[in-house]
């Protein structure tokens, strides 16, 4: 049985980074720089997203003698799911603010 995807603020950050250019392949270090997440935080998130089939991975074809780089891209399901999660996450403070204003 596949475990439920844990949606931490960091996962939302990573999803947001992928959504910024969802059709293009991204490298791990680039995502790390965009989000400010260290490898110890970023890669478990990428692993979980891949385990949930929200992320596809590929090795970049390179010239002979150059080791390939691992690339990542959201799957179609991943794009829909990411949009939904990022949207619902961005609504959170607004909800809190609205409820705060009501009180």
């Amino acid at each position: 049985m596949r475990r439920r995807l844990r949606l931490s603020p960091q996962t939302i950050q990573v999803l947001g980074a992928f959504l910024a250019a969802h059709k293009s392949w991204r490298y791990g270090y680039d995502i790390s720089r965009d989000t400010g997440l260290k490898s110890g935080t970023l890669y478990p998130i990428l692993m979980r997203l891949s385990e949930h089939k929200l992320l596809e991975t590929s090795w970049e074809a390179t010239a002979a003698g150059t080791p390939p780089r691992h690339m990542y891209r959201l799957t179609r399901e991943g794009v829909c799911s990411a949009r939904e999660h990022v949207r619902s996450w961005s609504m959170r403070p607004q909800r809190a603010a609205v409820s705060g204003a009501r009180n």
């Binding site: 490298y27 270090y29 490898s39 935080t41 890669y43 692993m47 691992h70």
Partner: protein
């Protein structure tokens, strides 16, 4: 390549090679990305973070497969029996320790006992003797009653960890 970066690369490479096949791909990916990390200390931090990920992943996968091997596909009765046996092992360990503590207290309060030997008696009766009994017990039980032997070993590990903490903090 600087010495720091080289050491970081070696560490991560070693860890990636020893990772489980499922995790190895991720290890190689992190290793390759390290080439693009600017700064040697940043590269070392990248490697340490990656090593943590690989280590954590290997441990959790190992535990999961151990649990699947030992508990999945078995009836709840078998599982209950195993858990009971494991708990019995831990209880036996606790009982052995209790007996040793009683022996130690009786010894210290004996009129003929030299107080100068207090520390030695403490280490012998509270650590060495119970640990020896745990080890011998676990070896004797291993073939016939493995879960109980594991329970005894767990008690031993808890005691040794406690003793180590005690010695470090009370040195």
């Amino acid at each position: 390549m600087s010495a720091i970066r080289r050491a970081a690369w070696r560490l991560l490479n070693r860890m990636a090679q020893q990772a489980t096949p499922e995790t190895r791909t991720w290890g190689s990916a992190m290793l390759r990305e390290m080439d693009f990390v600017e700064g040697n200390w940043e590269a070392l931090l990248w490697a340490l973070g990656s090593i943590t990920v690989l280590g954590r992943n290997s441990i959790s996968r190992g535990l999961r497969s151990w649990f699947d091997r030992n508990f999945s596909g078995r009836s709840s009765r078998t599982m209950t029996a195993r858990i009971t046996s494991l708990a019995s092992g831990i209880l036996i360990g606790a009982a052995v320790l209790a007996v040793c503590i009683v022996a130690f207290v009786s010894l210290v309060h004996a009129s003929w006992f030299e107080p100068a030997y207090g520390k030695l008696a403490d280490r012998l009766l509270i650590v060495v003797v119970p640990e020896t009994i745990y080890l011998a017990g676990a070896l004797a039980l291993w073939r016939q009653r493995k879960p109980m032997a594991v329970g005894v070993l767990v008690a031993g590990v808890i005691l040794i960890a406690h003793a180590a903490m005690h010695f470090i903090t009370h040195r």
